[in-house]
């Protein structure tokens, strides 16, 4: 890494650390910084701690899994967004673009409709996301056109609309007293129900997808050039695009399966990360992952503290993301072209 990457990475790391401290200490049961450090270091070294059992319980059982889940989901969405933006050569796209989120949403509401267990609902969401992207991909490749990327994006929009209609239908048919609130809650995104058993099914796919993307970091730089230019530089764009889309969809689906639909993170965070360390994926991917974790920790802490009732995450990320998007549109010329 050259000199210009380190300050940006340091800022992203500072945001993550601030997010972690905030998420652990702030809430209905405030925890002091000393207690937090005490309990965590005792946990790590296997010693006993003087902190009260209630404090230990809040840190390790109540907030711990939720904090880890928030950091992982934020990182996953940011990494997927970074990959999609590079692949589609457009800083305004996000992981929702290929139908991953809407496919996962339909899978989840179907799971809720049939009153399945939590694990089965997550599995449905996951499979729904992957199937949606596969469908978009197959249809997109079947349509022969000069600009395959544009066709792919438009197919994603169309398939997403159809899946949205499917979600509407399931909600319409659902039991309005039990199922509908659960579906609505899930579609708005929340980490309130995150527990220890969620962490492994979340961590596995996110780690796998991120490692694949990181391994392809240089090829991804070249892939952000126009298609024919990338091919003339020796990159087999067709197969590589499938691998990148699959890896990014894997991380997106895993996070949607855990936390529901949380929009805008995959759009906002990659852009912030790019302004910190530039567009080279070797630096951009790790920075986006770290920053995305910190960002969602801050948002999730706000979600559970600013009001008497918990605010769904998707609403808060939209409140932050929409003005950001408009600002981005307005300043596009200046910042990236």
């Amino acid at each position: 890494m050259t000199r210009s990457a380190l300050p940006g990475l340091a800022i992203a790391t500072a945001v993550l650390i601030a997010g972690l401290l905030l998420a652990f200490t702030v809430g209905r049961y405030p925890v002091s910084l000393a207690d937090l450090l005490n309990v965590l270091s005792a946990k790590l070294t296997g010693q006993t701690t003087e902190a009260s059992p209630a404090v230990q319980n809040v840190i390790l059982q109540v907030r711990g899994p939720r904090v880890l889940a928030a950091a992982l989901v934020g990182a996953a969405l940011a990494v997927a967004g970074t990959a999609f933006q590079g692949l589609f050569r457009n800083p305004l796209v996000s992981p929702d673009i290929l139908g991953a989120s809407s496919g996962a949403a339909l899978g989840a509401v179907i799971g809720i409709f049939f009153s399945l267990g939590v694990v089965a609902i997550q599995a449905f969401a996951f499979v729904g996301g992957l199937l949606a992207v596969a469908a978009v991909y197959v249809i997109g490749s079947a349509v022969r056109a000069r600009d395959p990327i544009l066709v792919l994006v438009l197919t994603g929009v169309v398939v997403g609309a159809l899946l949205g209609a499917g979600v509407g239908l399931v909600k319409y048919l659902a039991d309005p007293y039990n199922q509908l609130p659960a579906m609505t809650f899930w579609l708005l995104g929340s980490l309130a129900a995150a527990n220890v058993s969620d962490l492994l099914p979340l961590f596995g796919p996110v780690a796998l997808g991120s490692i694949v993307l990181l391994a392809l970091r240089w090829r991804m730089n070249v892939m952000s050039l126009p298609e024919e230019e990338a091919r003339s530089l020796g990159v087999a764009t067709g197969p590589l695009r499938i691998v990148i889309v699959a890896a990014a969809t894997l991380t997106t689906s895993a996070s949607v399966a855990t936390a529901g639909i949380i929009g805008w993170v995959g759009l906002v965070v990659p852009h912030l990360a790019r302004s910190l360390v530039g567009p080279d994926f070797a630096r951009l991917l790790p920075t986006a992952a770290i920053l995305g974790g910190g960002y969602l920790l801050v948002i999730d802490t706000l979600a559970r503290t600013v009001a008497e009732v918990e605010i769904p995450l998707g609403i808060l990320t939209a409140v932050v993301g929409t003005p950001f998007f408009i600002w981005l549109l307005a300043s596009m010329q200046r910042t990236w072209s």
Binding site: G86, R89, N90, P91, R144, R146, A215, L216, R217, W218, R219, N221, V222, S224, L225, P226, E228, E229, R231, S232, L233, G234, V235, A236, R274, G278, P279, D280, A282, W336, S337
Partner: protein, 255 residues
Amino acid sequence: MNIQAHDLTIGYPDRTVGRGLDVIVSTGEVLALLGPNGGGKTTLLKTLLGLLKPKAGEVRLAEKPLDAYSTRERARVIAYVPQVHISTFAFTVETVVLMGRTAHGSLFSRPSAQDRAVAHAALERFGIAALADRPYTMISGGERQLVLLARALAQEPQFIVLDEPTASLDFGNQGKVMNEIRALAKSGHGVLFTTHDPNHALRAADRAYLLRDGTRIADGPVASVLNREQLEALYQATVECLTDPDRGAVAFLPG
């Protein structure tokens, strides 16, 4: 070594652009491709680069069918300099030139120290080493063209194919790019470029290939192919030819 096409039919799935085209480009020579807009220049270029499959006929590179090369193998023999564009992301000039090294590394690798040395040598050659850390999006059009040339050189190819290398450049930079094209041939590269200006072909090319409505109307040494009659037939427009009485050099004016 040469790129050779025989009885080529070029075009897209839904339409044919040109037929019966024979082309040859050898290392050490410069071939200029001229013709009116929509005549098939870009389609022919993309077919020779292997970016577009011929509808009939075959392109051979060093006696082997172009199809038989993988994308990566091809990129180590032929480099492509597209028309100057503005990229989406603000990569540094150094990163853009390093992208020329992609075909020399493996799927997961980053550019090595040696790749960096090659990239810097290419930047030095075109006199733009000072731009290395600048964002590619923040330099002038002429500088961008030189950066893309440096990237092509960093590919260490035998052939360099340029699509309208002078199109968006000011007068001075046009001359500079023409000189660099000549220098590339001198260092043993085969160069193919398209242009709208016959004077550029006269100045930089050994041979000219005139393409109209997807048909070759002439192919030969610039001095014999580029004359008033041929150019008027090529563009279906009047052309004036000026001759320097002392040196015998010619130049063409449209209209």
